[in-house]
């Protein structure tokens, strides 16, 4: 079946602008994660959804970052007043909760460049 998809693949924006990044998880996966990967680093956790609700948003760096998952499937990560330091690859992952060997499957990411 189809894997996790993310759009756009690349996004260039100007400092101060608003951006939205979309994630389509694997069909039937109840859990959805967002990670941010800066150049030369490993991914860092941002937020986790179980169904429609954000079960853990402890990784969001500040209140300019917000994510939603209104119907428990597609999720959107929203960044307000973008800053150059927000430039990174934003990765989304989904998983089927309820299994001990829960495995997160990743999308190809969105590369965000803030000029």
């Amino acid at each position: 079946g189809a894997g996790v998809s993310q759009t756009p693949s690349n996004k260039v924006t100007e400092k101060g602008k608003y951006v939205e990044l979309r994630c389509d998880p694997i069909s039937g996966h109840t859990a959805l994660y967002w990670y941010r990967q800066s150049l030369g680093q490993g991914p860092e956790f941002l937020i986790y959804f179980q169904g429609t609700g954000a079960a853990d948003d402890s990784g969001l760096p500040n209140d300019r970052f917000f994510a939603v998952r209104p119907e428990g499937s597609v999720s959107t990560l929203k960044i307000q007043r973008t800053e150059r330091g927000d430039s990174a690859v934003y990765l989304c992952a989904s998983s089927l909760m309820g299994t001990r060997l829960e495995t997160q499957y990743f999308g190809p990411g969105t590369r965000l460049l803030v000029l």
Binding site: G42, L91, L101, T103, P108, G109, R111
Partner: protein, 116 residues
């Protein structure tokens, strides 16, 4: 807080040879999971192998195997018969068992080059 350390920023191996990538982690938990992910230039993270901490037997997946040393908090990845397609960034990751979140904690990665 849990941390994952990969002390080898880059490694190189000849095709058909064996290479071992190192990973150490720090946790006070007794039940957790460890993973190795591969990230090629396409950016997509691909699960290579996983290990449950309560299992003493080392996990294997075809040419990939791990050396899990729980007491030493070490989790190295061995790639046998290296192939050109193995060239990628490799990340070690930790996940706590139970709790409110199943977030992964990643190391900084090891870039593996495979020489023909």
């Amino acid at each position: 807080a849990q941390t994952v350390t990969q002390s080898q920023p880059e490694m190189s191996v000849q095709e058909a040879e064996t290479v071992t990538l190192s990973c150490t982690y720090d946790t006070s938990e007794s039940d957790y999971y460890l993973f190795w992910y591969k990230q090629p230039p396409s950016r997509q993270m691909i699960l290579v192998i996983r290990q449950e901490a309560y299992k003493q037997q080392n996990a294997t997946e075809n040419r990939f195997s791990v050396n899990f040393q729980k007491a030493a908090k070490s989790f190295s990845l061995k790639i046998s018969d290296s192939q050109l397609g193995d060239a990628a960034m490799y990340f070690c990751a930790y996940r706590q068992s139970g709790g409110a979140t199943n977030k992964l904690i990643f190391g900084t990665g090891t870039l593996l080059a495979v020489q023909p």
